[in-house]
Each structure stands twice: as C-alpha cells, then as structure tokens.
C-alpha cells in the first residue's frame, strides 16, 4: 500500500485510511509506523523525522480508548483530539508555529521561550506555586501541514506530540489534530504531574484546542470568569 501526498483520503475507512493518511503526510511510498499501542509516539515521530519508517501494523483501538485504560501513574498517557477551524491551514500553522504564543490558549502553560530553530524551553504551571520545565526539540516541521516535537533528555516530564493541519472538505476550514504523549515522572514530581494534567488529560487538550479555535475564529476566547453571581460576595 502506498500513497502520495496528493491522495485524497477517505476518513471513514478505519485503520487502513489512517495509515494512508500518515503515509501521505510523509509522502512518497513510505510505510508508516502507527505504533501508538505498543510503541511510543516519540519513537514513531522520530522514525518519521528520520524518514526510515517501518510498517508495524496499525492497531484497531483508538488511542483515546487506550488513554482511558491507562490513566494511572507510571504509564504513558496518550491523548488525541481533532477540531475543525474556519481558517486556512496556512494561517493556523503560522500561529501555532510561533510557540511563544501557545500559552494564550494552552491554559496550563506559563511560558514558552524559543532558543533556536529546533529548541525551545517550556514552563508549565502546576498548583501551589509549583512548575515543571523542559526543553523540547522540533522533530519534523512541514510548512502548513505538520509539526512534531519531543522533550529532550532531563525533562521534568517526558513528552512528545504532533499537530497536523489538514484542509477540511468544502469550505469548512482546516481539521487540526493534536496527539500528545506524556510519561509521568516518579518521585516528588509525580503528584505535581497528576494535578497538572488532571484526571482527564483528553479534556484538557480538547479545551486547549477549543480556545485555539475561538481565538482564531472569533478573535477572543469566550469566558465567564470574573462575571457576577450570587456566589461572588
């Protein structure tokens, strides 16, 4: 099975089409590792970046299901979420690629500082004045289509992920898909981590994506924080 970047992919056909989509993403005849079940996302992304991809079989299970199964400490947490935004892939890619702007819609992020083309420094807010930090490298960067990254060694929280921008059919805008994986730290950081990403990390990335959509479409993020109620006095 091969696919080229120009191929139209039918999204309703289960795992084969998902593999094709990955194939089309990296282009020309590559077989894709979608090892989100057994292997790590980082491995897949690194392989993707290196171009030497092996087809390991695509799992039937959705990664979301797995995330729900394995939300327990010491197991990687994988989440994925897709949202359609009424803007062009170009516009969305451009905003996202400016990592320093990510905290405007990613609530748990305190700051991101870009060091150079590849590397950036991330600080996430944790409760009770704690914060966790890591350096991340861009693994793959395809203009207007795809960005993947992974934390470098020594990170407080080992994590990796990608965002993909794909034109939606008709004039519906762009489908933005995010897949993230965290390896929970041990020791004292474990509790901080649990609070930081909450019981439903999938909801958190969903909220982040929705805020991104609001910002891109409506120019502001809808809020009710700070409004009056019979409780606020």
């Amino acid at each position: 099975m091969t696919a080229t970047p120009g191929d139209q992919i039918n999204t309703n056909q289960g795992e084969a089409s998902e593999a094709e989509r990955w194939a089309s993403l990296i282009g020309g005849g590559a077989m894709v590792l979608m090892g989100l079940k057994q292997g790590s996302l980082r491995g897949a992304l690194t392989a993707l970046a290196g171009g030497g991809l092996i087809y390991q079989g695509v799992t039937k299970q959705s990664t979301i299901q797995q995330a729900q199964e394995i939300v327990g400490m010491n197991k990687p947490i994988k989440v994925e979420k897709t949202v359609t935004i009424n803007k062009s892939p170009e516009e969305l890619y451009r905003y996202w690629h400016d990592f320093e702007k990510l905290p405007t819609f990613m609530k748990h992020l305190k700051s991101v500082k870009v060091d150079n083309e590849k590397r950036s420094h991330w600080i996430a807010n944790a409760p009770l004045g704690n914060s966790v930090e890591w350096d991340a490298d861009i693994l793959e960067d395809r203009e207007n289509q795809f960005i993947s990254w992974a934390s470098v060694e020594g990170a407080d929280v080992d994590n990796s992920g990608f965002v993909r921008f794909q034109k939606a059919p008709g004039d519906r805008g762009t489908e933005v898909k995010v897949v993230l994986e965290y390896n929970p730290p041990g020791g004292a950081l474990a509790a901080v981590f649990a609070k930081l990403f909450g019981e439903e990390p999938e909801q958190q990335i969903g909220d982040d994506l929705r805020r991104f959509k609001m910002l891109m479409e409506a120019g502001e993020i809808a809020t009710t924080e700070g409004q009056p109620s019979g409780r606020s006095h």
């Binding site: 479409e217 409004q227 109620s229 019979g230």
Partner: protein, 398 residues
Amino acid sequence: MKAVCWQSANEVRVETVPDPTILNPRDAIIKITSTAICGSDLHIYGGYIPTVQKGDIIGHEFMGEVVEVGSGVNNLKVGVDAKRLLPGDRVVVPSTIGCGHCNYCRRDMWSLCDNSNPKGWMEEKLYGNITSAIYGYSHLLGGYAGAQAEYIRVPFADVGVVKVPPDLPDEMLLFISDAIPTGYMGAELCDIQPGDTVAVWGCGAVGQFAMISAYMMGAERVIAIDRFPERLEMARKFAKAETINYEDVDAGEALKEMTGGRGPDACIDAVGLEAHGVGLEDFYDQTKQKLRLETDRPHVLRQMMVAARKGGTLSIMGVYGGFVDKMPFGAAINKGLTFRMGQMHGQKYMHRLLNLILDGKLDPSFVVTHQLPLEQAPYGYEIFQQKKDNCIKVVLKP
C-alpha cells in the same frame, strides 16, 4: 446591582451582586430597562435544567441601553442604520450568543455557534457537540450571567445586539429578543404551503407568535391547543386561531375531526419538557421525571406524532434538556414525518421582525399581562408557574 439569583427548585431570590465588567474586547455592558420571564425560565425555576447552580443569575429575554463597550466593538453589523455601537444606544439582545465568525454563525445558524460556550466539554459529552451559549441558562449552555438584573455583560456585542429606535415603548420591542423569533422560526420550519393547517401546542408568548407567524407565511388555518381558558382566549382574539382545550376534549381526536380526518399539515411544539398530559400517561411521566429516570415529559411530542397528517412536519421549539421516553416512533417512520427543531437563530430573524413592528404589521405588546419591579421577581415566577391571576407574560423592570 440587584439580580435574580436561582437558589433551588422553585426558589429564586433578588440579591445584591457585583456589577458586571468588560471581560473581552468584543463585550458591551447593557443597562437593562426591561426583561421578561420566559416560559423556558420556568424549567430552570422548577429545577429541571441540569447544571444550574445556586447563585446563578437567570433570565435571557431583555433589552436596554448601552453603557460601555469594549475595544473590539467597532463594527456593528445588525440593526437600524447603525455603524457603531455607542454608549446611550438603545438595543435588544438575542437570547442565544453567537460569535459571528464560525461556520454556523456565517450560515445564519446562530444558536449552533461553535465559539460562545466556554464550558463546552460538558455539552460535548452529553450532546456530542457544542452549541451556542444562552444567557442565564445553566452551565451546560455556557454559564453566562443572565438578564434578570440591572446590568448585563453582552459578549460579541458587535454581532449580538440590534439597535432599536428611541420612540417605541419597551413592550413593543422586548420580545424580538426571544419569544417572537422563537415563534417565527417555529412557523418557518413548517415550510407552510398555501391551504395548510398548522396546529400549535402551547398558547404562551412563543405559541402566540408562532400562530401569527404561521398566518403571515400563508397558513389557511391555525389551531391552538392549551388548557388555560385565558390563553386560549388570547389565541382566538390576537392570533385568530381556532382552539382546543385538551382538558375538555381529546386533542388528537378533535384535530382529526377539524381537518377532515387528515390531521394538521404541520404541528408546532411551543411547550417543551414540562408538558402536561392526562391520565395514566401523565402519571407515568411525572413519576419517572421525579425519580430522575427521565428528564423530559414528552406529551406534546407523542401527541404531535400521532395527530399529524401523513408526510406532515413537526416543528419543535419547546425546550428539551435530556432524555425522553415511550415515543411512538413507529408512527413517525410509517407516516413519513419530518422533524425540524432547534433553539432560535435570533440574529437571523431580529432585523426582519423589527421591521415588521416598525411597519405596524406586528404589535407584540398584547402578551404582557404583568409588569413588576425586579424586586418582585419571586412573586412573578410564582404566579407564572402556577398560572395565577391569568398570568401569561411577566415583564420585570429593574
């Protein structure tokens, strides 16, 4: 400021709360001059809408005067010769909140807005998607502070208000906020053809405006169904409807008789989840709802499915929150019925409706039976819920 705060089922209180402030660039602050208790507020009052919290300010039908605008409100797109929204402008505000820029708002489906509900994850879980927020209508639908107050924050004010002229009284204009567009959309969804008979369940304000709208769209006959004589009288007098009191006669049988055995071409539900039935079926639904085994009582839906003519249309404007039970779905499929429904798309209809009022073709003030100061909101809720003192519509004056 003073505001009506929900406490628990069947209890609201007027409390002193902080004034609202501008939170986002596209916000405006409106000083409310009139705000109504909507029939669907009774579902909140009665405790039937999930995720309403103690202390929430309720209310979603309102108008008033702009007192402050955010830095992003510079391009008012709707309204009477309005280019800019400025302090002092008199406005009516639609009850559903739309951002104006998502795919749905752009296609005039404002109540399906993607971007106005900041607590969307809850709704996504329950409904599979996120719809627009509604003022003062539970945290599921956004958690925005409502309108039964002295002031309100209006988000996306550049697309979310309609400027109105200064010379008409509030009672002529207030209902283009919610009740008129809801009734109007209810009639529009029926796709009325010349010669059609339209049956409307519920003779509150929304039902009355649905009947008037059905005639405007070419209906030959309108039949109104309710159980309160004063409401049926209003439907006869102002909406020129024939009427059925379902406590006196079997409404389904009566509709068949009145339509030559065919059934009405279109049926509009202007009642919603607290519908009353008769006999055993009513007991069943009341009990299940009280035991939380069913959230909504679908009497009207059931009756419409059986009463409608073959190939007819059901237009559902009454509010349902969750799950309904014992639906005669066999009737719907075998009779080839069309179901159309939704929260109203206020911003789509309000300008059109304002023009009808300005042209003297519609005077909605007839629905007002009570005007009360805001402080008397608890009394207003009580008489509206219990249908005391012939109460059909309460307007609160902050």
